[in-house]
Symmetry: C2
Subunit: 236 residues, 2 copies
DNA sequence: ATTCCCCCTTGACGCATATCATTGCCGCCC
DNA sequence: GGGCGGCAATGATATGCGTCAAGGGGGAAT
């Protein structure tokens, strides 16, 4: 896949900035609006790559992205699912290190790039933006630590159910109120759960047999939410 | 560093605050020095408890603390090891939620408490302190995500070796240059690795048989660092 | 339509690791 | 000293889950 193409008329940015940047002061927002560059990435395209040096931060206008580590043996572990309004790439920027994850578009996505210097600069001046940034980081950290506990203590079956709920929380459902509105390969689901692809497939089949879900290609319909929640065995 | 603190009840604070608060402006440091309250916690005492509401942030002057989640089935997962100079409890404070982890002293520890309002207030005013806070959060997040990948992909043996190295990095060695300077029960080691206590014991015995380490009660001596590193199989 | 290729699916197998149970060790208290 | 309780160590056993292998189906390109 080639380079993403520049999208000069990116009207949606301003709205999409709501989640984080709405906290910023107006003058800073304007600066960002001037400096940002919007592009469209096709499904499967890489936005940034593990090991590379960051030159800025990315804000998703529209689309769905996965952030993943590539483990030692080449297997990938999906760390985070990114949706419209989220930013990504800030971790490497703030700690001034290389990217620890690769960002790949799960579907065609419109993404803004904000240069490093500008972002850090505004962060220095704008207390409420900084604070929002800290809130986001804290929340991500909380989720990560919970995931650690679950990976260490829960069987794959529970984690898979939990993952289905997580995907639903993140990307929501289609109009029918049942179908997950993102198409992931079985391998991606497994890499999200932290298990082998075959195990994920087998358990999905079981879930289907038990009437919890319906499968149709990459479409996954959540039928019996109560049972899924029960299977996930969430306490916290 | 100079002596920004003059709280007579806590002589050591000034040195230990270096790691984060040295980034703060002097006037803010003074305010913190006035407001903070220092206490000594005995080994095994709980500093704060999962589920409780935070009223401030803790800064460790001296001692060693473990932060742990209590999993659904009661098993604990150790999330972080805290050492002198570190702060803890900030996550819950920043995201304005209850503590997600319990802090327990691994040995007698001297700990300062900084009230919530003051901390948040200063964070609003002091850009470089905020920035340092973001750096810490980013770094913790990076570590947490790495741990997720390893939990999902590496066998217990590698994770145990990695954990030994991690303990060494965190708390260092005793004067002999080999003995880990913290005493953890086998169960705590297992809860750090994310495995059953018996598995941890068995593998420690293997490591000993292979000449990598020496065991004497809770003392663990790292003999063959190269081999331990090799066993940990680190890539990143 | 046919071919190819990728992904999904299912089965068989074996290992790593959890679990259960027992024993031994050491320090502590009465 | 004797018993007691917590922790460490080790063995026996069970099983969840990863890995290997083979088959099947559907979409895209030609």
């Amino acid at each position: 896949m080639a380079t993403p193409f520049h999208n000069p008329s990116c009207h949606h940015c301003k709205d999409r900035f709501s989640s984080i940047f709405c906290k910023a002061e107006q003058c800073n927002l304007d600066q960002i609006a001037d400096a940002k560059v919007c592009s469209v990435y096709r499904k499967g395209q890489v936005i940034f790559h593990e090991g590379a040096y960051p030159f800025g931060v990315y804000c998703v206008n529209d689309g769905k992205i996965k952030l993943s580590h590539s483990g030692d043996d080449g297997r990938e572990q999906i760390i985070r699912l990114v949706k419209a309004g989220d930013i990504m790439g800030y971790k490497a920027l703030l700690s001034n290190e290389r990217y620890t994850a690769t960002a790949t578009a799960l579907e065609d996505s419109s993404i803004c790039f904000i240069p490093k210097d500008l972002f850090l600069n505004i962060l220095q001046k704008d207390a409420s933006l900084s604070f929002e940034m800290m809130r986001i980081l804290s929340s991500e950290l909380r989720k990560a630590e919970l995931k650690i506990t679950h990976l260490a203590q829960k069987p794959v079956r529970e984690r898979l159910a939990e993952t289905l709920l997580f995907i639903k929380e993140t990307y929501g459902l289609e109009e029918d109120g049942h179908t997950l509105s993102v198409r992931l390969s079985r391998e991606e689901i497994a890499n999200l759960v932290g298990t082998a692809t075959e195990s994920a497939i087998r358990l999905l089949s079981e879930f289907k047999k038990d009437g919890m879900i319906e499968l149709e290609g990459k479409k996954i319909r959540l039928l019996d939410m109560d049972e899924i929640i029960r299977t996930a065995n969430l306490q916290d």
